[in-house]
Amino acid sequence: MMQAATLAQSKPATAASSQPLMSVRGLGIRFKTAQGVWQATRKIDFDIAPGERVGIVGESGCGKTITGLSILRLLPNNLAGIDGSIMLGETDLASCSTRSMRAIRGKRVAMIFQEPMSALDPVFTVGHQIAEALLIHTQISKDEAREKTIDMLRRVGIASPERRIDDYPHQLSGGMRQRVMIAAALICGPQLLIADEPTTALDVTVQAQILELLRDLSVTSQTALMLITHDLGVVAETCTRMITMYAGEVIEDAPTDAALVRPLHPYTSGLLQSLPHLSPRRGKLSSIPGRVPSITEMPNGCRFKARCAFAAPGCDAEQELRDAGHGRKVRCWRFKDLDLPGALQHAASSPAAEMVVQR
């Protein structure tokens, strides 16, 4: 098992040596409300390498969706301000003009959402909606665009694309709609695809199809994938790196296997522990006591300390994302002292365990 961990840890070192595709530093989002200005996320740092598949995990309200939206600057009207920078090559997406942002959306960075039915316009054919980005961003004739659209539909696994191209969204099933969304997102060959809970609304057998498709397309077209999800299983199956968020901050950033085998932050460990997959059948499930602090009353220092079994006086100090070596980062000053259980330790007495023994 240890071998597995070292193997996984050696991977990102090579990825980190190359120039990142996108580099986020000190990203924070503030909103205006009737009660004043609220800080939704803060001090978010991470890089995405070209072609890398990164999972952003966390529970509802942790800021993972807002982080995805802020990269494309698709933020609500009550935005009070963006702090920090989002460097995509030479462009800072946090501060560039609306005009240059428009040239990036759909061309260099594309996004797909949870509910494909609400993301697709019901009164236009799917072909129209896929070709739209192509016609806006490139000098291409309508016939060529149609041809490319058919080709793209075929690549996302839609049977008889020549006929399906003229269908309206309501004529397609949920899984097919999500394939259409993926086709529309990838038609201009973006460098980064942001997928926000792309399979949450789908059945598990269809989810498996879509995750396989995203993984394959990312590999073949060298498109980096930023997969936002609450499902650690989805990240484990799809992504090479896992960024865990809590209460508006990144609290851990590590190669997926390493984070699952030996999480460095008590919250990541607690999440793994609470999964029924990894608990003995009908045994007592663990949970993390308490609840996520409200955005209006964020504690000073470590934001997790009130729920943390390892809290100590030093946790009242402001926590920075520390370099933990092997391409890992963690926002916990005690990480060296703690030996936290990961998926393997939990799995030892669970349904997943026998599987390992069998190998």
Binding site: D257, L275, S279, K284
Partner: protein, 346 residues
């Protein structure tokens, strides 16, 4: 689909379902949706009976039919051996108090304009149980039972977290001291760190109060954790039913095998298999389901026979029922795929 799973009814059967059919007309009334199409099973006293299936499989319709929120089109549902529908109205009303249901979305199930205590009191008031003081005492006892502090009595749903709201619904179902509770996707709307708490609560209540659960979910990890027996549903029919360890450890129906294989596991890559069964396409329409075996359009083992003949509901191992023509053929069980599936500890 003709023979019942247990012809001699189990001694401790609390609910028995025979040849249950529920059909709905489509909006234009030209066609019929066969939401549930010939299902047989017994729920045993004190057990947790899991029903797993994808959207549109009919699992929620079965749950609603079990507590008579949905009238069956055909077939019978017997509570403790009696058909509640044959009872006079007043008896039916008091009878159904023993059979409660809890729904998925606690936001939709609680009236935003009623205080928490008023919501918990409501079933008792409808049942005219005892005096006002006794009712309040029972409501408070139920809230205590599910671990809700008394100070939230006067609060309103918007002031509570998702986990607390789900506890309010559990308390409300408990006030009438039911024998059986149908739990329809009760943890689906909750964050993973609080799911465990709520599932633990269900287990604790079962132990202390001797409750029986019918646990309906699409989440494999939840159903295999909590259930004693599990039924796998596909397009209005059961395809497999058996002890949870058997169904998740040695699945016999190709659909169950695919479902288990599709579940993403939060394990490092060295512990996962790349061999997985990816099903083609999606669940067909229940308006015009495939002939014979309903799964045959997505099944990699499908033969001509599967289109011609509906597979019989057969007991292929002790207490383990399967509807597949080929499930008992020795070369059929694909050992190459089971490595990926959840296994059981004993």
């Amino acid at each position: 689909m003709t023979s019942a799973p247990a012809t001699e009814t189990h001694r401790d059967t609390i609910v028995s379902v025979r040849d249950l059919e529920v059909r709905f007309p489509t909006l234009d009334r030209r066609a019929t949706v066969k939401a549930v199409d010939g299902v047989n099973f017994d729920v045993r006293r004190g057990e947790t009976f899991g029903i797993i299936g994808e959207s549109g499989s009919g699992k929620t319709t079965i749950g609603r039919a079990l507590v008579f929120l949905q009238r069956p089109t055909a077939g019978a549902i017997l509570h403790n051996g009696i058909d509640p529908q044959s009872l006079p109205r007043a008896r039916f009303q008091s009878h159904r108090r023993d059979y409660q249901i809890i729904f998925q979305d606690p936001n939709a199930a609680l009236n935003p304009r009623m205080s928490i205590i008023a919501s918990v009191l409501e079933p008792l008031e409808l049942a005219r149980a005892g005096t006002r003081e006794e009712r309040i005492a029972r409501a408070r006892e139920a809230m205590d039972r599910v671990g809700l502090p008394q100070e939230i009595c006067e609060r309103y749903p918007h002031q509570l977290s998702g986990g607390q709201k789900q506890r309010v619904l559990i308390a409300r179902a408990l006030t009438l001291r039911p024998k059986l509770i149908v739990c329809d996707e009760v943890v689906a709307a909750l964050d993973m760190s609080i799911r465990g708490d709520v599932l633990n609560l269900f287990a604790e209540l079962q132990r202390d109060l001797g409750l029986t659960y019918v646990f309906i979910t699409h989440d494999l990890s939840v159903v295999s954790h909590i259930s004693d027996r599990v039924a796998v549903m596909y397009l209005g029919r059961f395809v497999e039913l058996g002890p949870t360890e058997q169904v998740s450890g040695r699945p016999m129906h190709p659909y169950t095998q695919a479902l288990l294989s599709a579940e993403p596991l939060p394990l490092p890559s060295t512990m996962r298999s790349d061999k997985r069964i990816i099903l083609e396409g999606e669940i067909p329409s229940p308006i015009n389901p495939p002939s014979g075996c309903r799964f045959r359009t997505r099944c990699r083992y499908a033969q001509n026979l599967c289109a011609e003949k509906t597979p019989e509901w057969r007991e292929l191992a002790a207490d383990h029922w399967v509807a597949c023509h080929f499930a008992d053929r020795p070369n059929f069980s694909p050992n190459d795929v089971t490595a990926h599936q959840e296994r059981t500890t004993t």
